[in-house]
């Protein structure tokens, strides 16, 4: 399946992906209206130092620990993508503890949030990939994870 991959060599640490992610999942049509003066809750996060940066988001593992560990059945796999049902999440954060990539976080409402490849929002394709100025984030099919 197509997944979001990051080529750390080209990641500039500009953090635009975080803002594009937060905007794509805001439900607003205008970025200023969506993000101005508010804390943002991106599902992709840039980590690193001054020289090395890496945007981290859900790897959509073949055998995801988060789905296995979810006590409420809020996480599940659909066509390879790990999806979340916010109405079921009880906010126990077990998934945050078990995710080896640190790809899950608490969202604005208190429930867990994670990358769902922008399949659920109006963007239609991963907003982080579309907006990356240096082609560091790609959405493609690769042999193995």
């Amino acid at each position: 399946m197509k997944r979001v991959y990051v080529n750390e060599q080209w990641c500039l640490g500009c953090h635009l992906c975080e803002y594009n992610c937060a905007f794509a999942n805001s439900g607003e049509a205008d970025m200023v209206k969506a993000l101005k003066g508010k804390p943002i809750y991106p599902r992709i996060k840039v980590e690193g130092t001054e020289l090395v940066n890496f945007a981290v988001s859900c790897r959509h593992c073949t055998d995801p620990m988060c789905v296995k560990s979810c006590i409420a059945g809020a996480l599940s796999k659909h066509d390879g993508a790990v999806c979340i049902d916010h109405s079921k999440c009880v906010g126990c954060f077990t998934c945050i503890l078990v995710c080896p990539y640190g790809a899950l976080s608490q969202g604005e409402t208190g429930a867990i949030q994670k990358c769902e490849l922008c399949l659920e929002n109006a963007c239609g394709e991963p907003a982080c990939v579309k907006g990356c100025p240096n082609g560091a984030i790609v959405y493609e099919e690769r042999d193995t994870l």
Partner: protein, 501 residues
């Protein structure tokens, strides 16, 4: 000191109603114009450091930024222009030579814009390049004057070495050191994909790029940086750089700060020491000396590669080119005074040399008059900006064109003309790793391929309109050109008629 104060050239205009304080501008500005104020939760801008490279403007996700020219000016004076006065202030403060980058920005005539191209109507058919074949391939090198046959009557097919190009455009010399590894990688990959050539410049050839050898022109300049047997063997052609359009008569100086790691190894210059290219080649004081170097290089490469001699367009260019054509060189590259540079003394860049259009026309005519035009191919450079400039250059007598500024623009350059600072925010004219990585060669190479693919289409359309189906048939065909708003002398030198004639 207050007498030294010069009001910033640009103002950073931030639309606070649109700024979401994402800090992209702050993170992306190597000049440190923008800073985040955690108390206010807003971004501050120090416009004194701004060079108007437009990096922040391009990356701002909410279009909250623009850079405008400051309207704080000195009292208007047609003789003492604002820039002129400020340059006096700068020199009075520093006692130094002013440095500039990229091509001459002054208001000199651009002859390309005063030349118009012909098209077929009624009496001769135009050609539709989408339906009929159109040949854009060119071969650079010495051509035989006539067909010769052996004793059996068979045509002698052996030609001197030729450089084959899929279209009459090449990327001109930009050294590794003046531009980044990723910029070189982009040029090398694009040249290979396009079937044209790029040029190493005088900085040697990075070991990673030997694979692109068949599409590489290796340069031998006065500093002889990075020149060795394998280097000469790696290229498709060898270029002797006698001069550069942006700074004729001047050498080069890559500061020691940029001679680090791979640049040092590739140039064969110790880390941290300045790489100084002398103004002349110290072994070339005449055409005879040039001939010796041409033949040394031919000898070193078994006469397999064409030798290019690159000269700046200066006053006696026709006579100089005539000499070069007799030196054994296969190709002459002429660089006009609007050509770019990574750094040059401002006075030289803005005042020395002549326009490529006039130089090219004069050289082509001189070589024809002397019956030695077939001795060499001519390559024109020094601000070829678009496909129609290429077509006009070919009709004026060029065999191909060199482009560099246009190629850098395709890679993201915004012509802020501060390459000499080494802080290129677009990852081109810099060696700082965090800036170099901003140019992803996957994207860069693709953009170069796109640019030249577009130009190729346009060249074919222009040719087809004239009823011509190959570059060869347009070469030196000045009847296809007309001047507009040019005086008798200019028309005479260009060898074209005025529009309406």
């Amino acid at each position: 000191m207050s007498v030294d104060f010069i009001y910033p050239e640009f103002e950073v205009v931030r639309n606070d109603s649109r700024c979401i304080a994402c800090r992209v501008c702050e993170r992306q500005c190597a000049n440190e114009v923008h800073s985040f104020d955690p108390k206010q939760g807003s971004i501050l801008s120090d416009e004194r450091k701004c060079v108007n490279c437009q990096r922040c403007v391009s990356l701002c996700p909410t279009r909250a930024l623009k850079i405008v020219k400051s309207n704080c000016t000195l009292r208007e004076n047609a003789n003492w222009k604002d820039d002129t006065i400020k340059e006096v202030y700068k020199q009075a403060a520093s006692g130094g030579v002013l440095l500039s980058s990229m091509g001459n920005p002054k208001e000199f005539p651009v002859y390309w814009d005063k030349i118009l191209i012909n098209a077929s109507q009624v009496t001769n058919p135009s050609i539709d390049p989408l339906r009929e074949p159109m040949e854009t391939r060119v071969f650079l090198g010495k051509k035989p004057d006539r067909i010769t046959r052996d004793q059996n009557g068979n045509i002698r097919c052996k030609l001197p070495p030729q450089l084959e190009l899929s279209m009459p455009v090449m990327f001109s010399a930009m050294s590794y050191g003046s531009i980044s590894y990723n910029a070189h990688a982009s040029l090398a990959r694009a040249a290979t994909e396009l079937g044209i050539c790029y040029n190493t410049g005088e900085g040697g050839l990075h070991e990673d790029f030997y694979a692109y050898g068949p599409n590489t022109i290796v340069q031998v300049a006065s500093g002889r940086f990075g020149v060795h047997k394998d280097y000469l063997d790696a290229g498709a052609a060898i270029e002797i750089k006698m001069g550069q359009g942006a700074k004729p008569g001047i050498g080069g100086h890559l500061p020691g700060a940029k001679i680090i790691g791979d640049v040092s190894r590739t140039r064969m210059v110790p880390e941290g020491s300045d790489a100084i290219s002398p103004a002349p080649h110290h072994d070339i004081y005449s055409i005879e000396d040039l001939r010796q170097l041409v033949y040394s290089l031919k000898e070193a490469t078994q006469y397999q590669k064409p030798i290019i001699v690159k000269v700046a367009a200066v006053h006696n260019i026709a006579a100089i080119a005539s000499g070069v054509a007799r030196s054994g060189a296969d190709i002459i590259a002429i660089d006009g005074f609007r050509g770019g540079t990574g750094a040059a003394p401002t006075r030289i860049r803005d005042n020395v040399g002549i326009p490529i259009e006039l130089a090219l026309a004069a050289v082509d005519q001189r070589l024809r008059d002397e019956g030695i035009r077939n001795n060499v191919s001519l390559v024109a450079g020094g601000s070829i900006r678009c496909a129609s400039d290429v077509v006009k250059a070919i009709a004026l007598g060029a065999d191909a064109c060199y482009i560099a500024t246009a190629a850098l623009l395709a890679l993201g350059c915004h012509l802020c003309r501060t390459c000499q600072s080494g802080k290129c925010n677009w990852g081109i004219a810099t060696q700082r790793p965090e800036l170099v990585k901003r140019l992803n060669p996957d994207m860069g190479a693709q953009r170069l391929v796109n640019l030249l693919t577009a130009w190729k289409h346009e060249i074919k359309e222009l040719l087809g309109g004239m009823g011509i189906n190959s570059i060869e048939a347009l070469k030196g065909n000045r009847l296809m050109l007309r001047g507009i708003g040019l005086n008798e002398k200019e028309l005479e030198i260009l060898g074209i008629s005025h529009a309406g004639e």
